[in-house]
């Protein structure tokens, strides 16, 4: 797939998703579409940090911080939807910058495990604040009445804008620095790149998106509780990335759409979400290490080479 068809394909997908969100009428399908969009954003945020070789398991905590921030601003201070979601992203970005500045001094396993512990600690913290609704969570987070019919379209617009931003960042010089950090951080440092600063910037950018996703989740669901933001949220995002294909920008998006559709279907049949996601991760990791997109690309390249062989035989 060369670069230009790649870009056309993405524009086509984005336009299709926006049109779908405008014209879809069924209430249940609209909610599934919202979940898909928010999940795709979270998975892309996780993959962005994976570009520099770190697994950001604190993603769930920052999504929760965004959601609670938007929820509190809306219910207690009557801040409108747009500003609430924007502030949710900013607060999550600031919190993650502080978190990253401390934890990114440690690498690999330590960073990952601290993220895991942080998620659980933040979850305990929500339940200690009466203003945040304690263990039962917050209710009644509504966007303005006029926006109600347009919510899927608005959610999709926000998600598309942020995904485009991720795409641009990944293909910019900054994205190349992240690749360099993953391959060999010492070499990157030796040519004068402040890798520590770049890592903190990368994680706060990714967590801005996570905070926005959390804010959208709060307004779409109208109800949030500490249980929504356990480490499972990050585990599911990881499933989207792995199933879709970690090496492709579209990977997490394809993974989110596939798995959310599958799990909505399975839940309708009374299936178990954990079972499905766990099985999907194991199959993806063991049998399709490059995900669905990688497997599709492999099949296509085999197909074209087989066709070429046939052509050569004909001559």
């Amino acid at each position: 797939m060369d670069k230009r068809t790649d870009t056309y394909l993405m524009v086509l997908i984005a336009a299709g998703a926006l049109l779908l969100s405008l014209f879809l009428q069924d209430a249940y399908l609209r909610s599934v579409l919202n979940v898909m969009a928010i999940s795709a954003l979270l998975a892309t945020s996780l993959r962005f940090v994976m570009l520099m070789g770190e697994l950001n398991f604190a993603l769930a905590a920052f999504t929760g911080i965004g959601a609670y921030c938007a929820g509190y601003l809306n219910t207690a201070l009557d801040v409108p939807f747009g500003i609430g979601v924007l502030l949710a992203g900013l607060v999550a970005a600031l919190a993650s910058a502080a978190f990253g500045a401390i934890t990114l001094r440690a690498k690999g396993p330590y960073f990952l495990l601290i993220g895991f512990a942080f998620t659980e600690a933040v979850r305990v913290a929500y339940s200690k604040f009466g203003a945040l609704g304690g263990t039962s969570g917050m209710v009644g987070i509504f966007p303005a009445r006029a926006l109600d019919d347009w919510m899927p379209f608005i959610v999709m617009c926000v998600v598309v804008v942020l995904l485009v931003a991720f795409y641009i960042a990944e293909h910019s010089d900054f994205g190349r620095i992240l690749f360099a950090i993953r391959e060999n951080e010492d070499v990157a440092r030796s040519v004068g790149i402040n890798t520590y600063l770049c890592k903190v910037i990368a994680i706060s950018g990714a967590c801005f998106a996570a905070g926005v996703a959390g804010g959208l989740h709060a307004f779409v669901n109208n109800v949030i509780s500490p249980g929504d933001f356990s480490y499972l949220l990050a585990a599911f995002a990881l499933a989207y990335v792995k199933v879709g294909g970690e090496g492709y920008f579209l990977g997490p998006i394809v993974g989110a759409v596939l798995l959310v559709a599958l799990s909505s279907y399975a839940l309708g049949l009374g299936g178990d979400e954990h079972f499905l996601y766990g099985g999907a991760i194991i199959i993806a990791v063991l049998l399709m290490p490059k995900g669905v997109l990688g497997a599709a690309g492999y099949l296509r390249s085999r197909g074209t080479s087989a066709k070429r062989r046939v052509d050569a035989n004909a001559h």
Partner: protein, 291 residues
Amino acid sequence: MQTFIQLGATALQIGAVYILFSLGLTLIFGVMRIVNFVHGHIFAVAALIVAYILPPLAAGGLSAPVAYVLASIAGIAVALGLGALLYFFGFRYFQRDLVGSFILSIGFVLLLDGVLLHLFGGAVRGVPEIFPGRVSIAGAQITVQRLFLCAVALVMAGVLYWALGHTRLGKALRAVSYDHEAAMMVGVPYARIAFLGFMIASLLAAIAGVLLAPVTIVSPVIGTDYLIKGFIAVIIGGLGSVPGAILGSLFVASIETFGSYYLDSSYATLAIFGMVIVVLLFWPKGVLGRG
């Protein structure tokens, strides 16, 4: 003073379980360089099997300790079988691949969550008392069961510590965790050592599970809580370090016990996390870690 001793005794009991847990985590990390999130489920499987088959065995006329020993052997056997399955159908292919092995272990965690809930149901179950009675040590009251738990955990930790320093297998495990390529060069069979390290760690988790079954309420999700605390202990002590895991476990257990008594259990959890941040600020690789 008496409160203090009582709290200290409680901290030691909780710490003993964390020690068994974190020793397994640190051993697996040292030998295979993987972060094993399924460790908690190996523990949970052992505890669940004991909780499931002990009441019928005891009702069948066996005396409580005999029934417990039989149930424990069954629990440990099943947990070890699960560990071997996980190794052969998964972790074997992901040694020294931190992110890959972690993703795989999260997949196993989700899958086993579903399987355990299906098999055992979500209800919590209690196990009848095995060793009745309590003893008084320096004014602190301790049930015999918890004393037994503590003693076994500390003996296991001692045996592991001794074995790592003095047996051929222990030396091989240490050599692999320092530098696996150099170890292979002098003839250490890496694949077999990695498997044995994984199984020893699973055995420790299974023992923790059967020891804990009679003194707590058992449910399919019991592993996660211990897993988090075990990992925090290992982070504080340093991944791959055996003394670090022991000290970290006792430290986490003390904060948890004293914090819960004087403040509140959720503040104790927050305090533990605060400690981790402080430790990382000064020792980014844990107090005794070499990363």
